[in-house]
Symmetry: D2
Subunit: 120 residues, 4 copies
């Protein structure tokens, strides 16, 4: 299940170039587009209980709805990284290390509230 970032970034770039849409793909505009897609993901489950979400994901139609929004987010994210000159693999690797240091297992185990407080 490797995700070929180089391929995805290249395909997203070509998609934009062919349509002359690179002119619209500033970091700010792409961040707004990402916001829109998050909104669409969130809307799907906003009124559901966790059980209803599980039922939704158990149907291929339901999973496809989630999948499409997740893919939209992924594509805009790859595009943002590309436009910002960020290596997404390295960025994620670095962030994992930061998080592992920031939330020591012994201190935060099982405690959601502490986590929220540390975050802010």
């Amino acid at each position: 299940m490797g995700f070929d970032l180089t391929y995805a970034a290249k395909r997203a770039e070509e998609f934009a170039k062919l349509r002359d849409w690179e002119q619209f793909h500033s970091l700010k505009n792409l961040s707004m587009a990402l916001t829109g897609e998050i909104g669409e993901l969130v809307e799907i489950t906003q009124w559901m209980s966790d059980e209803e979400v599980t039922e939704l994901l158990a149907t291929s139609e339901g999973r496809a709805r989630i999948e499409e929004e997740v893919a939209d987010i992924a594509i805009y994210l790859v595009r943002i990284a590309q436009r910002a000159g960020i290596d997404l693999s390295e960025a994620v690797e670095r962030k994992f290390s930061i998080n592992e240091a920031r939330y020591p297992v012994d201190t935060v185990r099982g405690t959601s509230v502490k986590y929220s407080e540390r975050k802010s």
Copy 2:
């Protein structure tokens, strides 16, 4: 620049398991966490002109700020895909095909507004 999704998903899962945080990682909660991270990304550039964004990205400190938020988004997205049983690679591949069909080059070239209207 391959992004090893299996590795990222596994590391995110272990991170949560070690801290007994899986109990908090429902799809709804993870979507909310993703919203929070988008908010943090957007806040960085909200008052900047496009030129100031370019200047920001030209400094290693500025790029690091963007990079950290992009990584947070990527990590939560990988986690959402994992919890939802979605193969992110396939999802992105499928969405590229949908987008290429939905926005034919000849019809939409250079036209942002039409794009917005077609979307909604």
Copy 3:
């Protein structure tokens, strides 16, 4: 508990004018700022159960945290309406009527899923 919109809009405008921040308050930038504030609101409760949210709201400190984010959202929303030439009172009145027609009591009573589907 009347909310004096004229007053709030005027105070927000003066706040911006005194700081020479009107130059930054384009509709797009304000929408991004609004996104950031929503992110901050969502982050507070993202890992909490509904019971923990109730407990949070029962403490004055917890309610104050929610209150501050809600106020930030309200202020940016008033500012957006002002910059867009929108009368917020009329807009809300109109939207109530639209919603009441769109979701007839007999059809949607008690059904969250139907509501979601109708929305999209």
Copy 4:
């Protein structure tokens, strides 16, 4: 242009009660719904230049599109305040005072970047 919060909160409550939707209106769910509406607002202008936004707002159809999303946000915000036991008027008043103290005119005048940094 007074905005009658008591009226809006009451109408929103009755709307939910009549449809037996109060069961879905937890603070978390309402925050997610708010996120979705912000996403819809942001999507309208995401690819536009500031000039195109001005043109959009100059047409009654364009302004109506923005207005509808702004109203959706306002309604969910009123509802969130109501469910959280927050007096929106007081909250906004208090936040204006905080902001005025936090961003002294002499220090921040004309400086967007400083503002962003102080925020985070």
